[in-house]
Amino acid sequence: MYNFEFKQPKTISDAVNALESDEAQALGGGQTLIPTMKQRLASPSTLVSLTAIPEMKGICKNDDGSISIGGGTTHADVASHSDIFSGLKTLAENIGDAAVRNRGTIGGSLANNDPAACYPAAALSAGATIVTNNREISADDFFQGMFDTALEEDEIIVSVKFPNPSSSSYQKFVQPASRFAMVGVFLSNFGNKTRVAVTGASEGGVFRWSEAEAALNKNFSDDSIIDLSIDHKDMIEDIHASKEYRAHLVKVMTKRAVASAS
């Protein structure tokens, strides 16, 4: 790790100001950024911690039934909050280990958009809105490929607004070593409409599986998935799984998501 300055502002505007300095970077729970810095693969000269900003923490239910989660809210807090719908709860409960869950934040996870991260699948499937310090971005526009998002430089995720699906499920098939998602499928059912988002699988990062959505919109049953197949061409290939295997898992996990949605 190289030396750096550390700032811990109390308000969003102070944080935005602090980030304007050269080579400053936002720090959420540090579960991704700090290991990268330890490896000397990142060297921000200033870290602006977002963990002491009360406006960015906590979970509340909005009047329209949607749920807002502060960008600095930890995975552990999401996992244990009673207003969180079942798929999202499962997702948060199964990120990393207790230490990671007690530090890592939803804002950090979404901003990082690791192709194997879990939260992007939930946000995209539920059709969440990413609220930043200066705008609102729909999940469909937010994720722009591996480690790439619609965030501008120095833009902060202040909160995430999740519509509340009538049933949901997150099915994660873990990469054996890292226990990130080798394939993770998030399914949100809004009565007449189902959205299916897949993480871990594609070279292009998190994506919606539209064929599965169409089939499920006709008939919400795991039988609807059986005859579908997904092209493996754009899937990730690494020492843990081939493209074909990942494509296969997308289908299996989707089927299981339908069967277990609650």
């Binding site: 070593a177 890292s178 690494d238 020492i239 799984a241 295997y245 898992l249």
Partner: protein, 788 residues
């Protein structure tokens, strides 16, 4: 003697108090006044010519004290191979020099070519980044078969990538070939024994302290084997006289073999400490551990099993390529040969065995002994091909093994692979296994799994290993360049408590608990009055460290011999005190008595007398009560066992879960059953890790792909079932005074084939025509096997 704390008692491990409370003292905990920090510049390419290493910028960086390059070590020796293996044609193996720092060429990712010494670790790291090395990358030699056939050499000066082409036993080759040619049935299997990274919890650490006043050195280092490290540095690498070098290995957080060896970093810190006359320290990062700790296994094998029409084994024939990596680590040449080939008769009365091993240099980290060392490779090949034969012939795999076992009345038994098994009872062990694992109830359990949509499989295995590696005179004829005895000094202090200085080194084995149990039992004293001293060459006799499940069988026996000497001297002192002759003195439960009388003196009184010898007949008895014994056994010991594993396979994803695992072992006599159980648990976890999870992967350019825990899968508690462990079958070793055999590696040796046998069985139950899957059995591999 309190029998609840002597030999056979499940005494709690006394060392755990400090480990669990975080008060262990590891190398990295040692902090010396005025110390400096070493950081290495390491190759990012697998193979390359070092054109220039420009250190001028690095030397100007803040805090830098000095910089070393390979140039600085051209005139000193290399790190040697501890065992000479000859090829089938009589030629000695190829031994390219392994320098302290790479010079001329880098040969694997992580190969160190320079080192910076600075005031802080941070400064050393910053400066190491400023070393400008012009390294011309060359194509990497990675795949073993192409390494053997190609003309791109890891070491140009030897003109081949083959270290040796070994045959065992060469005189049996023709008979084995004939047996296979004429057999009723031959089963053939090609398999890979996957390469592993040792992953000791504590990374390697070395700290050198040089004292210019006396021109002597102290090296604190993470070693399983401090005397060997000292010997290698003294006799081969740096030439520091042994009496000027103290090697201290304090608490060591796991080794699994990887800390047996001497590494270049140890020599570097010593040389640096001398140059700058200040202490120099280095602790590996986890990335360095992945890249540079000696890896394990990495064999590619073809094995054939020949059977007659009554299913009797006629022959095993194997051809193996074994990867040694870029340089010969100290025991890399013996691991795939003597420790592997000699075990290729397994537990079986098979008349013909022939083993061919070609050992191959590649542009990867050195490969050496790792928990089990050669014996897991042997067991895996044997027990997989036997299972395949059972499948091909429609036989019950347990019965096929039993039919071919060496029977209990056949011992001592000289196998076709040349070992003399002294005792054993493989059927009795298998009986225990069948009982605990409820093999009869398997069909019912399979039905239950099927009702849940899962495939259930049962895997059986039997294994034998050779432990307590010895004796020196035999291994000498087999090429060993070291002896393999061990040593203990028993120092009875004046106040009656006892210090035992041992050559074995404890880094997880529990010696500090088990060794006192032996001493206490033999002397009739409280084990809490016995302290074990180990890991410091200035305190202990010249022993050979801990590996190969040898500590109890070899060093434990030295302790027994030492205690016997203490008793015999004690009798002389007691005889003097009771005014008789020592042939009339008996010793029992801590009391010396004169036979036929009621005269007695206690052990404590004798000890005190030994050190306050006011009225000693000094012409007959020396003062003091301290004895040293060196023990060199006659033979290996032969622990053996039978394991059973049940797995469930998710047919949709290929995910394997272990539903139960039962291990029945014969370890001979047992000193502390709780420690034995713990050792078996640890071994099983590692073996199951190898079978299902762990795989070290280099790509074709020689980049280490599995270079962190993001990609290298370690076994976790949740991956393992609650083990059932039985060690009630005890055929005492006939070779050592304790009748013990060794238990440290058994679990890692016996479990991989058990797991693979179970998974193959599960898939076959659903009519998949699968006969083998290479480890690790990741979900993808199992899925691919079902869907190819």
């Amino acid at each position: 003697m309190p029998k609840d704390s002597g030999i056979g008692a499940a005494t709690r491990r006394r060392e755990d108090a400090r480990f669990l409370l975080g008060s262990g003292r590891y190398s990295d905990d040692i902090s010396l006044l005025n110390q400096t920090y070493a950081v290495f510049a390491r190759s990012e390419v697998a193979n390359g010519i070092i054109k220039t290493v420009d250190t001028s910028e690095a030397e100007k960086m803040p805090g830098v004290v000095t910089v070393f390059t390979g140039e600085d070590f051209v005139d000193v020796g290399g790190n040697p191979a501890g065992w000479l293996i000859n090829s089938r044609n009589g030629e000695p193996m190829k031994e390219p020099k392994r320098p302290v720092l790479a010079h001329g060429k880098v040969r694997h990712v992580g190969d160190a070519y320079a080192a910076v010494i600075a005031e802080t670790e941070q400064q050393a790291r910053d400066a190491a980044e400023k070393i400008n090395a012009d390294i011309k990358e060359l194509p990497a030699v990675i795949d073993m078969a192409s390494a053997l056939s190609g003309s791109n050499f890891v070491h140009d000066e030897i003109g081949t990538n083959q270290c040796y082409d070994w045959g065992w036993i060469e005189d049996n080759r023709e008979a084995t070939d004939n047996a296979i040619k004429n057999a009723h049935h031959v089963t053939t299997l090609e398999l890979v024994n996957n390469r592993l990274v040792p992953n000791a919890m504590e990374p390697r650490c070395s700290i050198a302290d040089y004292n210019p006043a006396n021109d002597d050195y102290t090296l604190y280092t993470t070693s399983q084997n401090p005397h060997l490290t000292r010997l290698l540095i003294s006799a081969f690498v740096l030439g520091i006289p042994e009496n000027k070098l103290t090697v201290v290995s304090p608490d060591v957080g796991g080794g699994f073999g990887s800390k047996i060896y001497h590494y270049g970093e140890e020599a570097l810190v010593l040389a640096a400490a001398k140059r700058i006359k200040r202490p120099v320290r280095w602790t590996a990062t986890r990335s360095e551990s992945f890249m540079t700790d000696a890896h394990g296994r990495d064999h590619a094998t073809k094995i054939e099993l020949a059977l007659d029409k009554d299913n009797n084994f006629l022959a095993f024939r194997t051809e193996t390529m074994a990867n040694v990596g870029a340089y010969l680590s100290n025991f890399s040449t013996v691991t795939p040969t003597i420790l592997h080939g000699t075990l290729m008769a397994g537990n079986y009365a098979v008349p013909n065995v022939y083993v061919n091993v070609k050992t191959v240099f590649t542009n990867t980290a050195p490969v050496d002994a790792y928990r089990g060392a050669g014996r897991p490779e042997a067991t895996y090949s044997l027990e997989r091909v036997i299972d395949k034969a059972a499948t091909e012939l429609g036989l019950d795999p347990t019965n096929l093994r039993r039919q071919n076992f060496i029977k209990s009345d056949q011992f001592p038994y000289v196998t076709a692979a040349g070992l003399n098994y002294d005792v054993g009872d493989y059927d009795a062990v298998m009986d225990r296994l069948e009982h605990h694992a409820d093999l009869k109830g398997f069909a019912k359990r399979r039905k239950k799994s099927e009702a849940k949509g899962k495939l259930r499989g049962l895997g059986i295995n039997s294994y034998i290993e050779a432990c307590g590696i010895a004796p020196s005179n035999l291994i000498g004829t087999l090429g060993a360049r070291v002896g393999l005895y061990d040593a203990a000094t028993i120092r009875v202090n004046a106040t009656g408590n006892i210090s035992v200085m041992v050559g074995a080194h404890s880094h997880g084995q529990g010696h500090e608990t088990a060794f006192p149990q032996i001493v206490a039992d033999l002397l009739g004293v409280d084990p809490n009055n016995v302290e074990i001293v180990h890991g410091d060459t200035s305190k202990i006799p010249f022993g050979m460290g801990t590996y190969g499940s040898r500590s109890l069988a070899v060093c434990g026996s030295a302790i027994v011999r030492g205690v016997e000497k203490i008793i015999s001297k004690g009798k002389k002192i007691a005889a003097h005190m009771m005014e008789t002759t020592d042939d009339k003195v008996d010793f029992d439960e801590g009391v010396f008595s004169v036979r036929g009388t009621n005269k007695t003196v206690s052990f404590g009184d004798v000890a005190l007398k030994a050190y306050i010898p006011h009225d000693f007949p000094i012409e007959d008895i020396e003062p003091g009560l301290e004895e040293t014994a060196f023990y060199d056994p006659q033979n290996f010991t032969y622990p053996a066992g039978a394991y059973a594993c049940e797995v469930e396979v998710d047919p949709e994803t290929g995910q394997v879960t272990i539903e139960s695992f039962t291990a029945a072992d014969d370890f001979g006599n047992i000193i502390n059953p709780m420690i034995v159980e713990g050792q078996v648990h640890g071994g099983l976890a590692q073996g199951i890790g190898q079978a299902l999870l762990e795989g070290c992967v280099y790509d074709e350019d020689g980049q280490l792909i599995s270079a962190s825990y993001m990609d290298y899968t370690m076994p976790r508690a949740a991956d393992l079932p609650s083990f059932i462990v039985d060690h009630t079958v005890r055929t005492p070793s006939t070779d050592n005074p304790l009748g013990v055999k060794g238990c440290g590696e058994a679990g890692a040796i016996g479990s991989p084939p058990t797991v693979v046998n179970a998974v193959v069985d599960a898939l076959r139950s659903a009519d998949h025509d699968v006969t083998h899957i290479d480890m690790p059995l990741t979900p993808e591999r199992v899925w691919a096997a079902m869907n190819n």
